[in-house]
């Protein structure tokens, strides 16, 4: 009774307090089962979905990085292949250039040799012609000289022939 007197002194109606407490708990139970738990469930699911999304995004990011790495590798490989091809082409072009230069030099050498040969042949022919003309002139001069006194030449040669035959016999 003293407690009731104390509560009434504090302005609290005990029966009202109790009913409100019961109402509160009822409301708490109702809210717990019908609002809080579904809400928590929804939040959890949402968090789960967000986490999954984040995981997938992270995985996608990793995959993207991997793909990027692969692409970079491929590009690098392609670049290396291109460089190798360019180098090979350059080497081939260089070899071809050297081969062509060598062939051109050989051809030039052959041409020079042929020209020298032709020049030597022409020179030789010219010499022969000059010599033949000179010999012809000398022959003609000798014949003219002989014709001045043919009997003397005849006599000298006949004497020589006769003495040779005599010596042989």
């Amino acid at each position: 009774m003293e407690e009731a007197g104390l509560l009434s002194q504090l302005g609290i109606n005990l029966s009202l307090f109790l009913s409100q407490t019961v109402n509160f708990f009822i409301l708490l139970v109702v809210l717990t089962f019908f609002v809080y738990k579904p809400l928590i469930k929804v939040i959890k699911e949402r968090n789960k979905k967000i986490k999954e999304g984040l995981d997938k995004a992270e995985e996608a990011d990793i995959r993207l990085k991997e793909i990027d790495g692969i692409a970079k590798g491929k590009i690098k490989e392609a670049e290396q292949q291109s460089i190798n091809m360019i180098k090979a082409t350059e080497e081939k072009a260089k070899a071809l250039d050297q081969d062509l230069t060598k062939k051109a030099e050989e051809h030039q050498q052959k041409m020079l040799a042929q020209i020298k040969l032709n020049a030597a042949y022409a020179e030789e022919e010219a010499k022969k012609e000059v010599l033949a003309k000179a010999a012809d002139l000398v022959k003609k001069a000798i014949v003219k000289t002989v014709e001045l006194d043919p009997h003397a030449v005849d006599q000298a040669l006949i004497q020589k022939a006769v003495s040779e035959i005599k010596n042989e016999n």
């Binding site: 000398v138 014949v143 005849d154 006949i158 022939a161 006769v162 035959i165 005599k166």
Partner: protein, 108 residues
Amino acid sequence: MLGNKTSEEETEIADKFLKFLEKNGDLRRVKEIISLAEDLFIKKTGRRKIILETARRVPEKEIIEKISQTGDIVKKKINKDLIAGIKIIINDEQLDMSMKNKLNKLFK
């Protein structure tokens, strides 16, 4: 060639020989046949056939006396191409002492 025959006998043999050639149709080759007969005669008798070839007429008598022996048959030939000197052919041997030969040797 005819041994100790008289000139009449020689003429008779020559006539017979010519008639024989005519009969065989070899008259056109008479020069060739006589030359061969001459060669045969020379070989058979061991004599020599001497040909003296000069560019112009020369006193051959002295040459013949110096190089020929009794029985040798000596022939003379003029060949202006020799220019000067002499070419002596004794059987198959030849001594070319002509100016043509000397010039050819000089300018060979």
